[in-house]
């Protein structure tokens, strides 16, 4: 085979320029959004203006409240999320790989999936008290359910031809699992992790609204009692930014780990 008769598919040209354009549009949109907010506040609506919120940001950072709240909230969400994913991945693999495990576990997963994690809070508080345990438990449940389904789907969807290809190359079940099933289902798992993190974050803030002595949700709840709108805005913006940051980190991991996928 001396001559190379085909060339590989060409990369699409002009992608960087398109990206710059998107970034520019994003920036314009954000600035315009803040402008509209400011406009509403000037027009007499009962909301704080951007400088007022910025000032409150400074105060809450200076006295350490914001830092402590962020640490408290992030600790809860990350411990619940890590526990949830750590259990979901092996359970999802077992469900996908062994019909018996699927038959035993699936009804419970499907049942609990239909209950919003928040609806578990009253039960969790009664059974586990008002400490950290019920909050972490609810977050654990939220991320576990999202991730276990995704992992299971990933294993079930592994292309049978790839498994056959590995088998005829001499791979046994253990090798097929480690070197075909795990990498082939990784894109599904990462998507499950992103969904799980999103629902963990949403669940956490709600859990803190109900019962907590610290955290971003608690801070907004107590600000509500004093009609302290700037603090509520600080809370909302912080929650949004942190959620976005966490999602971006997972997205980056996803691109790095599953960049081999053919996108159509």
């Amino acid at each position: 085979m001396t001559t190379l008769v085909e060339s590989p598919p060409q990369q699409r040209a002009g992608v960087p320029r398109k990206k710059n354009r998107t970034l520019l549009l994003n920036a314009i949109s954000i600035i315009a959004g803040i402008g509209v907010w400011w406009g509403f506040s000037l027009a007499g609506f009962d909301i704080p203006a951007p400088p007022e919120v910025l000032k409150r940001y400074g105060e809450l950072i200076a006295d350490g409240t914001l830092g402590e709240d962020i640490v408290a909230s992030l600790t809860r969400v990350l411990s619940g999320f890590v526990l949830g994913v750590a259990l979901a991945v092996p359970v999802g693999f077992l469900m996908g790989w062994y019909g018996t495990v699927r038959g035993l576990v699936e009804p419970w997963v499907q049942f609990f999936r239909t209950i919003p994690p928040l609806a578990i809070i009253p039960l969790a508080i009664v059974l586990m008290g008002i400490g950290e345990t019920p909050k972490i438990f609810v977050i654990f449940l939220a991320s576990f359910l999202a991730c276990v389904i995704a992992t299971f789907q990933g294993v079930v969807n592994v292309d049978k031809t790839l498994i056959n290809a590995a088998r005829v190359l001499g791979a046994n079940d253990r090798v097929i699992f480690a070197r075909v099933v795990v990498p082939a289902s990784s894109p599904f798992i990462l998507v499950g992790m992103r969904v799980g993190l999103g629902s963990s974050w949403a669940t956490l803030v709600a859990a803190e609204l109900i019962a907590a002595q610290q955290g971003l949700g608690y801070r907004m709840q107590s600000a509500q009692l004093y009609y302290d709108l700037p603090t509520i805005f600080v809370g909302l913006i912080t929650i949004g930014i942190l959620g976005l940051l966490m999602d971006r980190i997972l997205l980056l991991a996803e691109t790095k780990l599953t960049g081999w996928q053919e996108r159509r």
């Binding site: 085979m1 001396t2 001559t3 190379l4 008769v5 085909e6 060339s7 590989p8 598919p9 292309d159 031809t161 790839l162 056959n164 290809a165 590995a166 088998r167 005829v168 190359l169 001499g170 791979a171 046994n172 090798v175 070197r179 075909v180 990498p183 082939a184 990784s186 599953t258 081999w260 996928q261 053919e262």
Partner: protein, 253 residues
Amino acid sequence: MITIDRIHKSFPLKGETFTALGEVSLELADNEFVTIVGPSGCGKTTLMNILAGLETPTSGQALLDGKAINGPGPDRGVIFQQYALFPWLTVRKNVEFGLKTKGVGREERRRIAEHFIELVGLTQFADALPKMLSGGMKQRVAIARAYAVNPSILLMDEPFGAVDALTRVRLQDQLLVTWSQEKRTVVFITHDVDEAVFLANRVVVMAARPGRVVEVVDVDLPYPRNDELRLSPAFTALRNRVWNAVYHQETPA
């Protein structure tokens, strides 16, 4: 040597018994290039899967050098129509896959992989991911990967079925070059009569309902085969004979 001894394969389908293979017997000599051609539903892929050890016959048996085939093994390399490359591995890692499962050391793996990647003319793409390659290139990687574990038999299931007609002719030429440098027994399944005649020592023509062998045509044309041969009267005569066997099959009542 492969012996296919009165293989019969049937399975239940919607409450009835579907016969994929009626009764098929064949013998393939070492280093022979055999193509199997026939209409869809004639059981050619089933036959290949049985040789690969991915399916078991209902009755009869397939023997490799006198030993019954039960299950896949590295003595038989398989090339699938859908390429079946591991998309998360580079070309090199794909080719090394079978060597790694065999427990071949890193240096040796790399040396062998390099040799077969060069044999299929993809040296400059050794570190590319499959998504960067065209269909024809992917299939050449699959051929290199099958060769790397040093099988005595290559089973190819319509390997060029998914590429365009021009690439297909080039791939056929290249496959014969590879095969002449690294002789193996090849069982090549196709529904393309020209392809079947151009590649083979022997063409096995199958018919459907039930799947069976209707004719075996010896292709006594010399290798290396080239474009000149494709257009020669001798080729055309054989091609017409196979064509008639494939397209003018008497359907049993």
